[in-house]
Symmetry: D3
Subunit: 331 residues, 6 copies
């Protein structure tokens, strides 16, 4: 893979990521794709819903791991491939995990995957049953064979997200400790590792605050390296009298000490407002899990689950967004 350095974005040239210019009547820092949702709930025969899914560049095209809840409402991970990042060919069967060590827990469910290219392969993290939800790590070279590693955390933990390179010589992962159910609290923490097996040097990164992120927060896509720091998108939950509402916003973490928050945007960037975000299996959910960034143009495309039902897309430009975050930051 060729890697270039945009004046702000540090990373790959990805000229073919999905893109659509901001509509004339819109001045928001993020804007939705007009043909949302890009993946309907019934894209494959068994699916009840396809959302909270992770796309990455793959051999000049795109691949991904998708959360597909089937019609038994079991939570599964499916691989998929795409020429353009918009039209996806999702495998009809869920992925199988190759487990070298039988002491590792049995598999019961997996959801909310993230995919991270790290050194020489694609690592997948997701929420895994391990006598409760915990953060699992696996890897793949080709999105066909997936190998299961040790669980990265004890239960109860969700939203584990790797950084795309070592920092201070150590692997780093964000996560959100939680409890057994529809947890009503949750901060973002960072853990470190020298081998992706043993984790420690835990640090607190960000807590809940203002209304849209007052119940709990959790990391979304793999952090995007910029000259300003690690750009992260994260979801924030407000509890209305009719339940949880999932928005998402952004922050910038220090490049060398990524548990230090440099900027944190006070307004949310996306909240559930369209019909496909408000109506579905869980009304009022927007939940980002992946972002593609083109270092040449500064374009970013964000994949997010909508209403726990479908997959949608929105866009931004890195310089505009960073400017917006800094202008609206309170740490």
């Amino acid at each position: 893979m060729t890697t270039t350095t945009h004046k702000t974005l540090i990373g790959q040239s990805l000229p073919n990521i999905p893109w659509q210019e901001r509509p004339d009547d819109c001045s928001d820092p993020l804007w939705r794709y007009t043909d949302n949702p890009i993946i309907p709930r019934d894209a494959i025969p068994c699916s009840n819903s396809i959302f909270n899914s992770a796309a990455v560049p793959y051999r000049g095209k795109f691949a991904g791991v998708f959360r597909c809840d089937d019609k038994k409402r079991d939570m599964r991970l499916h691989a998929g491939f795409s020429e353009d990042g918009l039209n996806w060919n999702i495998q009809h069967d869920p992925i199988s995990l190759i487990k070298d060590d039988q002491e590792i827990c049995d598999w019961r469910y997996g959801y909310d995957p993230r995919v991270c290219w790290l050194e020489d392969r694609y690592y997948v993290t997701w929420c895994n049953w391990f006598h409760g939800p915990a953060v699992a790590i696996g890897y793949t070279h080709d999105f066909k064979a997936f190998h299961l590693l040790e669980n990265a955390t004890l239960p109860y933990n969700r939203n584990g997200v790797l950084f795309p390179r070592k920092i201070l010589g150590r692997y780093m992962m964000l996560s959100r400790p939680s409890d057994t159910g529809h947890t009503s609290f949750g901060d973002i923490f960072l853990s470190q590792s020298e081998d992706l097996i043993y984790w420690g040097r835990h640090r607190h990164v960000m807590g809940t605050r203002g209304a849209w992120e007052s119940t709990k927060i959790g990391a979304g896509p793999v952090p995007i390296e910029t000259t300003e720091g690690w750009l992260i998108f994260y979801h924030g939950v407000l509890t209305s009298c009719n339940g949880y509402v999932y928005h998402f916003g952004a922050a910038v973490l220090d490049l060398d000490k990524p548990w230090q928050v440099r900027y944190r945007c006070e307004p949310y960037l996306i909240s559930p407002q369209t019909l496909y975000e408000c109506v579905g299996d869980v009304p009022n959910v927007t939940f980002p899990c992946a972002a593609l960034a083109d270092a040449d143009t500064g374009r970013i495309a964000i994949y997010y689950g909508a209403a726990d039902t479908v997959t949608a897309l929105c866009f931004c430009k890195v310089d505009e967004l960073l400017e917006y975050i800094k202008a609206h930051s309170r740490v």
Copy 2:
């Protein structure tokens, strides 16, 4: 009434039940009527909503008992009549209950009726206030005069559904013991009686399991007799962080020992996905209460409440459905 025996369905010839062929682009075992909802929420002047309602064949046409919540949001039962099972003439006034024994409880509300032709009359069961929700039984010959019998159960119980004939010489009823409120648990049980007054020989039939039916389950239409066993449709509830989601699925019970489950379909058959199922007084509810089956063609039409607001219709063919259930069964 003439009764014939289809190769699979055991019961009446009902050539005029509502019917619409499966759309070409659909391969699901059940499919929705394209003109849903068939009964809007404001079909009669007083109604806030009309749903969870029970239609039966009646004198070559159709009659039924309907849950109509009025604009005070009181829960009422109304009778109705139809030529074709699609267009309904619902009485503007709720039904009155003739009570021969004054010791039987006063009437405060009734909801979620089922109607069952049994021997020589139509029996109605519903959820009745009896110092809490309990299962009531009444009967009618003409859908004009309704007679109230003893409550079949103590509180707290809902979703009482009679079998359409005696089995082992005894009347049989499914029900779902519950608590006083929006109960967060619930299995299906069977009770037996020799006189429709005293009930006993209680049996456990099915418990909750997989996600879509993990909170509680409850019987829907009157069981349909087939050569494979009693075909039942039942609702199953999943609790999302924004509340309950009501799906429905199917199972087949043993003909002679109907507390024994022969097949139980793992995927749901209908989940709330259309606007009329997702948006309403209670979002995300599909709740079946009645089915019409034509023994000659094997056609089945299912009436279900949508979003606790309107009444909708869907269809299946008995042989296809049984094949599907058996192919996806886990007991």
Copy 3:
């Protein structure tokens, strides 16, 4: 057995029931035995606690069924025998239930037994696991062999108590419908049967009210027949900021229509005040399960569980008590 008729009490002569006169400094209608508790928690090797237990006259002496929680904290029923009703020889092994019909539910636990002499044998009712707590009925002739009948109720129900004779030609049972856990509500209902298998003609008897009985109520000992009506003792629960407090009081039901309350005593008769009632596995519990009444003298001895840990005894005289109830009655 010889049966005589005291001027108030209708029933047996039982001259040897436990008795202790009211202390001089006490004017309460009930008074505690000075050597309480009569059964310590460790009366048999396996027991964690022995409480909420049922004693009856048996062949000129006494027998009973006892709730013994073992050191796994599993809830078991043990038989016991006594010469004087005070010193008990409790069997070291729990009773076994002979089950003629294998369709009846498997046994998992039993607690809070009541024993009722009815026609020709001793019937035992208790709270039984049947996919949730339900009322079971069994019988014995000798407190050695116990036969299991059909569960009398669906779940969720507790505190099933039989009347000691048929009324209006029917068997009658009080019970308290509840939910799956530490239920926070509950009224007393009455059900009727012609064969002890099928139950119906359900009636509401009493609801919660005033503070000490504001959370839930439940029948205690087998009703005692008097010329004024059926005398019942029942527990009533108040919820303090530190949990449930179990008191007990009394009422008188109509002899012929026992779902009609003739008198209901406003003050409680016993509330947890002694150390053995306030300190134990569940603090602040007094829970009556059995009463012995001597028709010649009008003496009544009441067995009650204390702090869900030990068994205690208190006394009253029927005429004094009825006078007190009538003087403090509000229905």
Copy 4:
């Protein structure tokens, strides 16, 4: 201002209030504006939603105070102006409060404003942070400078609504005591004052009852004086298994003793049924905060928040409405 007396309405001539005749196919006492919502959620750049807002006549045109939740989801009050009551020019910045006494609490949030012309100025009441939600009072002459007075209540209280003139020589205010969160209970009370600073002579006005108003109720617009009494619109909440549903209805209070209810309409007048009422940040909310009444024609226009997201309008005629209320009244 000129004040005339319609045969029923007592108050101003307001010939230019928004108006649209009842549709031919509608016989309800209230009907919605066909171009609802009149204020979209994004009417000003910072707004996430604009709802639960208060419009009044102002210098021959209209002014108001609007609840604008911004994209941080902070709750703010904004002033606005309109020529016709339909098209609003809402200030982009929230109002600032002039505070003469520094002992009065700091400002953190304000929501659900009501505006009341009283004697010589416009008083604004709203839900204010004061170590919890409490009722604040401020005033303005021009909707530019707003002065903050003492909080009218201790926490925890919401929905404070002033009467538009003194009664019995005293100012009067309705309010709804509550708790710290999404309170699950609440009645309407009335408090009295001689100086708008000290409040006392508290009276209970109305409690919860029937299903649509079974969880809590709260006053809406400033009471409208009629020859029959004070006409009030108020919201009522029903708790479905998916959360709260906010309807609104009406009552008539005694002119001289406004804590006495003369009529109370049993059916609701508006319940969430349109897409803009059912889908939004909080599904299923209709919440009235202001009404304009023209004494010459008896026309009333009601502003209400929909789905906690947008502002909508509906209409009625005072004579028809009073007739309807009286015909459907139960006190």
Copy 5:
């Protein structure tokens, strides 16, 4: 009454208040009376418990208002008299309230009284039913005739405590806004009045903090005037996994602006440790409601309820206590 000024205490000479010197082995600032409890639960025939009660000097002796829960567990207020403040003659009948204005709410229950000599009479404040708990005010001259005034607050409020003189020309009252039940939150506020009828100028005084006072706090006895400020004792609640634990501590408020806290003692002064504080109707409660202070000697005797069952006494010396509070203060 003669009023003298001790060097620290400002108030009356009360040489005959109960007193017992600190035990030699005790260095705590408060110490318990060795003959606690001074009032047993059954001090009068109808009483279930007597606690949370208010004693004051009266005509050279003592009088008081006592919380007596009767054997229906109804909460009542009884008057009582004592020669020495230790042995109390409590009236067998509850006090009756003379109500001049019939619009004031009906009486249903009263609990946790405080009594305050103010200007020319004894004012009593207590928690009163007013469609929920609210603060009531009454007065008496002789502890025989009690007059009911307007409720001082809307519901939901408890622990209303008057200051013993006007400050800044206004009456002042502490209170603790709460909700309808066993409220799990609560701060102390101050309200002001010019006539004891209308209340306003509300101020926040103290919030919850450190563990023993982390759930809620509430004022106890009438504030004691000292040269350092108003000395108040207040209860603080910690929630253990087995319920609420009520301790009490102390603070000093500014003499002229009593909503300003000058000192606040971090450690508690009394926590439930004796058997009569740990075992009773509500385990683990110590709840102070009254204090007697002798201006000549600086002695203070504090009456407190124990385990919501009995009344106990403890002592301190004002100079020692103030020194301790200042040494352990954190505001």
Copy 6:
């Protein structure tokens, strides 16, 4: 230290550990010390309570780390020393933690310590505030200077207990993932480390089951090495209607794969039954944190907290206990 090998116990000779023979009338596998509690709640001036504490052999005598809640009810760790393990000299000031890396979290509270001699020093693990409860590790050589290491876990976790030697070349720790409050669930897990900083290879060890351990379980003292495996004592919680009841029992883990349970004793060994276990700040708690074992005699002395208030002691003999466990084991 000299280390010998008893036929069953593998470890040190500790001839001077506290000891008292089993009473004649007791046949239980564990028996209480007759002079319990050995440490009263007020053993040092600042203490509200001293419990859940860890004693170890130290230079021929004993040392320990104690949970002392002070009179602010703040949770602190204090060091202490003893000649005989019975009479303890507890330091009046809490221990200070030396923190070499300032990135490690600030200290707010510590509770429920365990102390483990491992290789060359004493390691202390405890429940530490780290934006929620988490497992902290520190070490000391002399119980005077304590050094803080990295937190071993993310929140939310409690009851971290180290094994006293490496197994399979790795350090091993038991812990109990939980949530933020009085967690109502919890299993025992095992985590592994090569450096006591990074932890991974997480394994599930034991879940909840039977009644006394149905709510949650958690490891107690440092595991004791025996020829049969690692002997562990652990607490198990049952939820009564009045709160949590803490018992303790025992299990034996595989020597080489300590996440495998070889034996698990069904009955509890100690349940709250004495006054000092049933009455205190949290009624009904017995909570073991440390054990001393003498390899020569097989004697084991167990320190446990009682009622979250005081420290108590009980005894057993290793061979008898293992025999009992094996005889009552169900895995």
